[in-house]
């Protein structure tokens, strides 16, 4: 094994940390085999072969400070994927790779190996992704945050539209010239935050994901969507409302209410959105079924503003929606219609108040006239 002048104990400890937590780094990423040699022993093996959420092969490489062969090994891994990536599904049947899903290279390092990772990121390797793990301790326990690094291939993809345009011009000039094929999976365009890896959505589900994002936008301006290549977590003011994952070419959504479903059509998106809204209502303490009309807050729409202060826009929209159907306020109920009818029996105090002479209960007052005019 040739790994260059690195500290074996550092690599081993990092690998033991990473190999058991690949799913924490990227949703759905599972280790299949360790130590894959892509360079006839010249540059040392890639640390692991994993399967991602879409069934694609992922070569997992550790970046350790002082590993002089890291860049060469990454290039070698890239060439290996180019050569035999399509054949891995048959060659390693136990990995259950999906045919036709392009392979990737994932370089994982720590803060101390940032320079090495930056060097690799600058290389024009297709399907390269890199991240660093930043450990920290909280409540006596060690955890790590994943920070995704920009890679040269991403920058190249940003310039792709201009390249496509030029290809179109060329194609117009020479119609028989073949055009390049599109990638199998596309990344969704609208995102709430940009400093995160692109969410890889199966092309057939791209519309559903956009519809889901649209729903999230409508729930509240403070709703955030963040995550890694294969999962997006939807949260509001730090409260997780749900998440969407890419699993084997499908979009699987799970809401904080506990409902899990695959998003196959817009109806599923609506169902999921319904659950997201429930979770939001719960998080923002807007639960319309828990209030009491008689508790003195009912006439005050600002009472709905929530623990953490749902945005003013949301309150405005909610108020408009309430007003659209009349005086909708807090309700005491999830109760049935029959039970609310039964509860409508008058109390002695109400009888008494209604039975008082009109002069006592109130005659014509300036206040009531002004209220009615308004």
């Amino acid at each position: 094994m040739i790994r260059g002048p690195v500290f074996p104990q550092m690599r081993d400890s990092l690998w033991s940390l990473v190999s058991s937590r690949l799913d924490s780094i990227e949703s759905g990423l599972k280790l299949v085999l360790e130590s894959l040699d892509c360079s006839d022993g010249e540059l040392g093996p890639v640390d692991g072969l994993a399967r991602d959420a879409t069934g694609g092969a992922v070569l997992v490489m550790l970046a350790v400070d002082g590993d002089a062969l890291l860049a060469a090994r990454a290039l070698s891994a890239g060439r290996f994927l180019d050569r035999v990536g399509d054949a891995l599904a048959q060659a390693i049947p136990e990995a259950n790779f999906c045919q036709g899903v392009p392979g990737r290279i994932l370089v994982i390092g720590s803060e101390s190996s940032a320079n090495a990772i930056a060097e690799v990121c600058a290389l024009p390797i297709n399907g390269l992704h890199a991240c660093t793990l930043e450990p920290f301790r909280i409540a006596g326990r060690e955890r790590f945050a994943v920070r995704w690094m920009p890679v040269a291939a991403d920058l190249a993809m940003e310039q792709a539209p201009r390249a496509d345009e030029s290809r179109e011009v060329e194609a117009a000039a020479a119609p028989s010239q073949p055009t390049s094929s599109k990638p199998e999976f596309t990344s969704s365009q609208p995102e709430f935050t940009s400093s995160q890896p692109e969410f890889i959505v199966p092309p057939a589900r791209a519309g559903l994901w956009e519809a889901t994002l649209s729903v999230c936008e409508r729930i509240d301006h403070a709703v955030m969507v963040h995550g890694d290549r294969y999962s997006r977590t939807i949260s509001w003011n730090g409260n997780v409302l749900g998440d969407v994952r890419t699993v084997g070419g499908a979009l699987v959504a799970s809401a904080a209410t506990g409902v899990v479903r695959e998003l196959r059509d817009l109806r599923d998106v609506r169902r999921f959105g319904d659950q997201l809204l429930r979770a939001f209502v719960h998080s923002a303490e807007l639960d319309i079924g828990k209030g009491h009309a008689a508790d003195g807050h009912a006439a005050d729409p600002s009472h709905h503003s929530g623990r953490n202060g749902a945005s003013a826009a949301t309150n405005g929209r909610s108020a408009a929606a309430r007003h659209a159907a009349g005086d909708r306020m807090e309700t005491p109920t999830g109760e049935s219609l029959r039970s609310s009818l039964a509860e409508s029996k008058l109390t002695p105090e109400e009888y008494s108040a209604l039975g008082e002479p009109a002069s006592v209960a109130g005659s014509i007052t300036g206040a009531s006239l002004a209220k009615d005019r308004s």
Partner: protein, 299 residues
Amino acid sequence: MESDLDVDRPGRGFLRRLLRRAPPEQPCRKEAIVVAFASGKGGTGKSFLTTNLAIGLHQRGLRVAVVDCDFGLANAHLLFGANPRFSMQHLLGGQRTIHEVLAPTPYGPSLVAGGSGISSLAELGAKHMQMLARALSQLADRFDVLLIDCAAGLAPQSMITVLAAQHVVMVTNPEIAALTDAYAVIKCLSRQIERPSVQLAVNRVTNAQLGRATYDRLSEVSRRFASLPIHYLGAVPEDPAVSHRRLGQAPMLLGMPECETSRALRGLVGALEAKILETRAIPGARGVEARMLTQIRRW
């Protein structure tokens, strides 16, 4: 696992409500404003007010339909001087569509007559109420305003029709029995998630101040005990000419347009029209069918 709120059917569910908060540039369907005339006690003058206000709104250029949901005691067709061939009975029996049941009246508004085939509210089940919800939804597409003459009391079927509306005109008299019964309905409305706006119309007042005094009393009690604000629509004076009118005579608003009662009715028409126009200007309201089905599910 929690079930969804009928997301399979459009118009329901939390999300549907959410999505209806659409940007203003998106066209939204203009559905009729639904106004229910309700009371706790019978004989307060719901049908009288419904027919006359329908005519008044029609005179002001609105497309108005009256739906007589006072099952078993339906008489709106008599006040309109109409003798429709089909009625609610045919609609709920599945024999006729709402468009076949809908009949013109000599005074402008269209009418869905209650008929006499349904002897009581208790005969109506959830399926019938769903059919009614669908029918109202179809009507709502064709008219500007639907006026529902509801049955008195606190039967679930009656409350479902009341809760189908965006505005409820609570018709009461100054007497204590009518007042307590009206308050019972208001109290029930206050317990609903999606409650309509309540307008109080006081019928048969013996002097001009009594209507306002009745409103002040009911409003105070409603605000204090039920936390539900109610609004004052107006009062109609006691007029022997109303009870002395015979079948075949034109409704009060047209037959005796200059009398005090008609002037008061026109005041109510103006106030109600203002409420209707105010509601029409607000986008994003749920449809009448959605509102009714919500209540039917809670039944």
